[in-house]
């Protein structure tokens, strides 16, 4: 069995790991001929992350079989953070039960970390049809969430025609953030039918902060009273899907 995945910088792993760490402490990745993937829910099953990291985005990628490897996110993060901005990162499995991480530019670092027992259960994706889609720059989306978080723990998203409204309500008052197709930061809006749903801000701000550091855009898709799906497209990673179950009350 061969598995070697090399990226040009540590940034790709940093985004992946900080994204996953918003939901879980331990992660099981799967590497196949096509690339690396991860799928997992938080312990209370409110959110799900689905990552596809295709082989074409790596500087070098070799995998001739399907292999699962489980890691503690904080342990792997610590090692990745040792790398300098310009270091390449090579992750491989040369020995049983150990993951090898080599960082190289000025000098070579080689770490080996013990793998943890990987979870065998596969998480199915929710079956969804979306009636609304809004695309924002990640930094703009992060701003909108913070605007609402000032007064509320939850955010209601309402879309109609070419308008999207983000609302929040708390003990101290209410917030409404409106964006239309003219607004700066709103890159795309597509509404098949008027939709409204409410989600926990806690989960949303954590995931948005994790992906917004690398720039890029976030496409949010949902339907009334149905889960939200964020699609984050990040250079050299492919895509991250984040699903969030709605609040039931209105």
């Amino acid at each position: 069995m061969v598995f070697v995945a090399k990226t040009r910088s540590p940034d790709e792993w940093k985004v992946i790991l900080s994204t996953i760490s918003t939901l879980v402490d331990e992660a099981t990745f799967e590497a196949t001929v096509e690339g690396i993937s991860f799928r997992g829910m938080d312990p209370s099953h409110v959110a799900l992350i689905d990552i596809q990291w295709p082989n074409s985005t790596f500087e070098r990628y070799e995998c001739d079989d399907s292999v699962k490897f489980g890691v503690r996110i904080d342990e792997l993060s610590k090692l990745i953070k040792r790398a300098s901005k310009k270091d390449s990162i090579e992750v491989s499995m040369l020995e049983d039960g150990l993951l090898t991480i080599k960082t190289q530019n000025d000098y070579l670092r080689e770490y080996k970390i013990r793998l943890i027992e990987s979870s065998a259960s596969s998480t199915p994706l929710p079956k969804l049809n979306f009636s609304s889609k809004v695309v924002l720059s990640a930094s703009e989306f992060d701003k909108v969430l913070s605007d609402v978080q000032v007064v509320s723990e939850y955010i209601s998203i309402e879309t109609e025609a070419k308008l999207v409204e983000f609302r929040g309500k708390g003990d101290s008052g209410e917030a409404t953030i409106s964006l239309n197709s003219e607004s700066v930061g709103l890159e795309e809006i597509e509404v098949k039918e008027k939709s409204r749903a409410t989600y926990s801000l806690d989960y949303l701000t954590r995931i948005t902060k994790a992906v917004s550091s690398s720039g890029g855009t976030i496409a949010a898709e949902y339907s009334s009273k149905m889960p939200l799906r964020l699609e984050c497209r990040i250079a050299n990673i492919g895509r991250i899907h984040f699903y969030l179950a709605p609040r039931v009350q209105d």
Partner: protein, 395 residues
């Protein structure tokens, strides 16, 4: 027979106390005391990290094991328990929590390896000072009460047998404290004995060992064991119906609602009456992500969580759980967090009443409580979460 009122109970406790002091006046007016230690050792929190540490000895010979083994107290009268506790004379010496290598701490650690009472003799700097009021500095709702206190000069015991299981953990200095606690629990050691070992810094990696104030050691032990049990319970099938278990003792009314769910969540609510008859309610909650704050109801939370997880483990099922505790004025003197652990264990030994609907289960639970169902629900985060937050797996 009518239930005794708070005033009657208080009067009886006070009479017992005066009786104890007068019967033992000769013993207590000396600077030495001989008696059988249960064994009991106290580690204070006041002045941390330089804390008061010392053995407790009653002016009583023979088998006093029960005096510091709360697992044996359920079903007893509050006066009897207070008698055990108030007769324990504590000799204290101030010690840094890291100073575990001194001969004094070593001798207390040795003593904690036995699970039966031991004849002992304490010499004090001055005569023990009796107290029976809220002025006692260390009176704490998490701790079992105790009697007169005096600075300790020296302490000696007769020889005694040590428990092999405790001894093995004590000498295993490569085993983490968490693994040590879980191991002892699995081997059937009582929680009260484990927390005594924890408080004397006798578990864990050599470099991490230190003294832990008694009240923290109790919560830590309940926390560690229940966290371990939660992980195991998650692999069991869920219960089929809503169930309610009830139990009352010492003016404490417990209702435990078990809720069929694939995921763990736990809530404990406590309601108490102040001097003016006003109600206070404290609520703490965790979902499957675990606890994200130190509970406002403190050690009670971990004691409740231990009892519930222990029960679910014994029936090999998973569930979400809600504990409602009402503290009535007849609970005149806090007797320690063990009372909560044993009260909820007691409730879960009673036959449950089963329901198909959450609302019906809660109505039944509230039928013997004084706080209304509406009030409990208003404070319940578990209920709000269950009602308002969907899951990915629902779609």
């Amino acid at each position: 027979m009518a239930m005794p009122t708070a005033t009657q109970i208080k009067k009886r406790l006070m009479a017992n106390w005066i009786h104890f002091l007068s019967t033992n006046s000769a013993e207590l007016s000396k600077e030495s005391l001989s008696g059988a230690t249960p064994p009991a050792v106290f580690v204070g929190s006041y002045g941390y990290p330089k804390v008061r540490v010392g053995p407790m000895v009653p002016p009583i010979h023979g088998d006093t094991t029960v005096f510091d083994k709360p697992e044996l107290w359920i079903g007893k009268d509050i006066a009897e328990i207070v008698n055990y506790r108030k007769s324990l004379v504590m000799g204290v010496s101030r010690t840094d929590i890291h100073d575990k290598s001194s001969r004094y701490i070593g001798s207390l650690q040795e003593l904690a390896l036995t699970r039966r009472s031991v004849e002992s003799e304490a010499l004090f700097e001055n005569k023990p000072i009796p107290h029976f009021d809220e002025l006692n500095l260390e009176l704490d709702t998490n701790l079992a009460p105790f009697g007169p206190v005096a600075p300790l000069k020296s302490f000696r015991t007769a020889s005694y047998p040590v428990d092999q299981r405790l001894e093995r953990s004590y000498y295993d200095k490569d085993l983490s404290a968490v693994d040590g606690i879980v191991d002892l629990y699995r081997q059937g050691i009582e929680v009260s004995t484990i927390s005594r070992i924890v408080s004397l810094g006798m578990l864990g990696l050599e470099k991490n060992r230190k003294l832990v104030p008694t009240k923290w050691s109790i919560s830590a032990t309940d926390d560690v064991i229940s966290s371990h049990l939660i992980k195991t319970i998650e692999t069991f099938p869920r219960i089929d119906s809503f169930s309610v278990h009830k139990f009352n003792h010492f003016g404490n009314y417990y209702c435990i609602l078990l809720i069929p769910d694939e995921l763990w969540s736990f809530e404990m609510q406590e309601a108490w009456y102040d001097k003016h008859g006003n109600v206070g309610i404290g609520t703490d909650f965790e979902d499957a992500n675990g606890l994200d704050h130190y509970p406002t109801i403190a050690g009670a939370y971990f004691a409740g969580r231990l009892s519930v997880t222990e029960f679910l483990f014994s029936i090999r099922h998973k569930a979400a759980a809600m504990i409602l505790r009402e503290i009535h004025p007849e609970y005149v003197i806090p007797v320690g967090v063990w009372q909560i652990r044993e009260g909820i264990r007691g409730a879960l030994k009673e036959k449950a009443k089963l329901f198909d609907e959450f609302q019906d289960a809660l109505s039944f639970a509230c039928s013997t409580l004084s706080i209304s169902k509406k009030e409990w629900l208003r404070n319940s985060k578990l209920y709000a979460n269950m009602k308002n937050q969907s899951r990915i797996t629902d779609f």
